[in-house]
């Protein structure tokens, strides 16, 4: 069986910046509600939508929204190469960069190594208001403070799809059974998800289109998360040199 390479193509022309994917991701992965002291630097947002603009003001201003998540780097994955605990690996069967928080010792070397700032540290023990633990998603282990976590492409949903396929005595999972929470939640269906190694799949075809690009491609880590936009100024953002990002505050 050809190993799968799960990846995504996110259509930035369809992203309205609503934030549904951020909340659905947190709910699926048992991320607790923000601590009062948490900020955008210390919070846990495995999926995170970043507002960007073309820098103009007035009637010439244009804005867009970029969902950022673990890019699932395939080649010389930076976080894998630095982890002293081997707490993260690129799964051979699926291509998913799997972070095992229970093995992590919290050195945060991977957070420094990740070029996409897609990794988050549990600064505090997860806490929910009394009774709200009943709403935790079964199948996803709750982390404790002191470990790093990140997007695992909703591995609990992959497990459920595999269990279903095994129970039905099928060799491969039904793609419709494995849909990560962000993909499922998007009201404009901006995210196409699937197996990039399957050349005929929708996601593979979309990734090859002219308007598709990846962030920081020149680093050579072969991320499996693609973006596409018909707007040239949005595509050019991916090539911009590092400087203070355009933040839409207030």
């Amino acid at each position: 069986m050809i190993p799968r390479r799960y990846g995504m193509v996110i259509d930035l022309d369809l992203c309205t910046g609503c934030g549904a994917c951020m909340i659905a991701c947190a709910a699926e992965n048992n991320v607790p509600p923000p601590q009062p002291r948490a900020t955008d630097r210390t919070g846990i947002t495995p999926m995170r939508v970043q507002p960007v603009s073309n820098g103009a003001t007035g009637a010439d201003r244009r804005e867009a929204f970029i969902p950022l998540l673990c890019m699932q780097c395939q080649h010389e994955t930076p976080c894998v190469s630095v982890c002293p605990q081997q707490a993260v690996e690129v799964d051979r069967a699926t291509g998913i960069v799997t972070q095992m928080p229970q093995r992590c010792l919290g050195c945060r070397y991977c957070m420094a190594a990740c070029p996409y700032h897609a990794r988050y540290f549990n600064w505090w023990d997860p806490q929910w208001p009394p009774g709200m633990e009943k709403t935790l998603n079964p199948g996803v282990a709750v982390r404790m403070r002191g470990v790093v976590e990140k997007c695992n492409l909703c591995h609990a949903r992959l497990h459920a799809a595999e269990d279903k396929a095994a129970a039905e005595k099928k060799a491969a999972i039904d793609p419709a059974d494995y849909v990560p929470a962000c993909v499922e939640s998007c009201p404009t269906q901006a995210i196409t998800f699937g197996d990039l190694a399957n050349a005929g799949s929708a996601v593979a075809q979309a990734s090859r289109s002219r308007e598709s690009f990846r962030l920081l491609e020149k680093l050579g880590s072969e991320p499996k998360v693609y973006y596409r936009s018909e707007r040239a100024w949005v595509r050019e953002l991916a090539e911009r040199p590092a400087r203070a990002p355009e933040v839409k505050r207030g």
Binding site: E89, A93, K164, A166
Partner: protein, 179 residues
């Protein structure tokens, strides 16, 4: 010199005895099941020797290892015999519709994903290959819990999973077995 050797020999044997005999006894705490369930008797009485009669693999692939109180109530709505265990079952659990707080010998911690669907349906493993003996005897056996880690003594460790996977040449990365 002789005295020192004698003292250290006594120390050595004390340590060996403490470590090999006393420590295992003390480390594990015995707990009893809410009711002494007899597998063999039930298999005989219900006319089926199949584990799957009560331990069901659901359609979506999830495994119902512990039968709900409804399946017990199917026969034990009223006490059928004279044992104390059955009386407790009916009075404390069936009538008030409470789930039995079974102590699960092989309960893995939350971060472990063990798929019965894959091991039973796809790999064709028999129940007794991992749960040897439990289904065939009338004595459930004591539940012994490690006082420090909180795990059951008969819990399958990661090295045991790994050795079986190695022997059968089945690869499973971290993703396959962990939540």
């Amino acid at each position: 010199m002789l005295r020192a050797s004698l003292a250290s020999a006594i120390g050595l044997s004390t340590a060996l005895a403490a470590g090999w005999i006393v420590f295992p006894r003390v480390l594990y705490q015995r707990q009893s099941q809410p009711v002494e369930f007899r597998h063999q008797t039930h298999a005989a009485k219900s006319g089926t020797a199949q584990c799957t009669a009560c331990h069901v693999l659901r359609e979506d692939g999830e495994f119902a290892g512990l039968p709900s109180i409804e399946s017990c109530a199917g026969c034990h709505a009223e006490p059928m015999g004279t044992t104390k265990a059955e009386a407790t079952l009916v009075a404390d659990f069936v009538k008030p519709h409470r789930e039995m707080p079974w102590l699960v010998y092989s309960r893995q911690p939350a971060n472990v994903r063990f798929s019965h669907a894959i091991h039973v349906r796809r790999a064709g493993l028999e129940c007794k290959e991992c749960h040897a003996g439990r289904g065939e005897s009338d004595a459930l056996g004591p539940y012994r819990q490690n006082r420090i880690s909180g795990y059951s003594v008969s819990l399958l460790t990661m090295s045991q999973c790994e050795s079986c996977h190695r022997d059968r040449h089945v690869e499973a990365g971290c993703l396959g077995c962990h939540e």
